[in-house]
Symmetry: C2
Subunit: 150 residues, 2 copies
DNA sequence: AGTTCATCCTTCAAATTTGAACAACACCGG
DNA sequence: CCGGTGTTGTTCAAATTTGAAGGATGAACT
């Protein structure tokens, strides 16, 4: 291994800022959602993704990738959502192994009710804290960061 | 409640970018640390904080706040680190209730060995992906985001 | 000194997450 | 059509996280 390039002050500030912001924002959203909707953040994300998908359904694997979580973790969460009647499982016609998770009307309704509070929290925690030019950088730069790690 | 201000495309891109980046970066670091050092990210952070602290020790509550985790969660992690001999508990002289977590020499050594790989991963995942001006914005803007959520 | 209220850390049970192991199946080249 | 290889979703046990509860103490005030 070649010599370690340690982080200088500016880099350290960026790293610390990124870490703290992501933890605190996550924590805040988790709290807001649980409080006002009884949903966890992962669960909310599932509903959002399904609501935007054709026929309001997605394959388990697609969901797991989109949520950046493990397959078993998704199985668990879908199970929870199914219990509450927000999601239903449907087997895939073209692939016997495949399972579609499909948003139910109840699930859609739950999302509709949870969304305003969630968006408000996202604004308060992140979006409205950023200046327009900062917003652009976050979208562009962090978008690139996420993309490179796929 | 007044009308909901939904996110426009630019805002949504920033939010999505932020979310995906934080999840993927976290995941990558977790993997890198576990693989090359047998430490979890929270555990590594504990070691870093202690190493930088006077006498290499911090109160449990200070640590919990700094790590943005629950008190019980910290109790658990310190227990794990204690098992491995990386940390030792010391009762606080001025406050019977207080407990110091103190880094041992073994813990310091473990940190020394883990640090280069960790820093390299941080660079590869985030720091070296950002342009200098982007780095500045991330430090400044996300620093503000984290700060406002305290 | 007595009260009251906040703080400190741990314990406990419940919820969640993870990765490995599996079983069933798709897909591709021979 | 077969064998080899990769995929799909689940199950399982183990690790981790969380929040509520509790025991003990500090701190401020009367």
């Amino acid at each position: 291994m070649t010599q370690t390039r340690w982080l200088d002050e500016r880099e350290k500030a960026a790293w610390r800022g990124f870490l703290e912001a992501s933890h605190r924002v996550e924590r805040r959203l988790e709290q807001q959602l649980k409080e006002q909707s009884g949903l966890s953040h992962p669960q909310y994300e599932v509903l959002v993704l399904l609501a935007d998908a054709p026929r309001r359904e997605l394959r388990m694997t697609e969901l797991a990738h989109a949520l950046i979580t493990s397959k078993s973790g998704l199985t668990y969460q879908i199970g929870q959502l199914e219990k509450r009647g927000y999601v239903r499982r449907r087997s895939c016609p073209t692939d016997v192994r495949g399972i579609f998770a499909q948003l139910t009307d109840e699930g859609y309704e739950a999302l509709r009710q949870a969304a305003p509070g969630h968006v408000a929290a996202v604004r308060e925690a992140l979006i409205d804290v950023l200046e327009p030019d900062e917003l652009a950088v976050v979208a562009e730069a962090l978008g690139r960061v996420g993309h490179r790690l796929r």
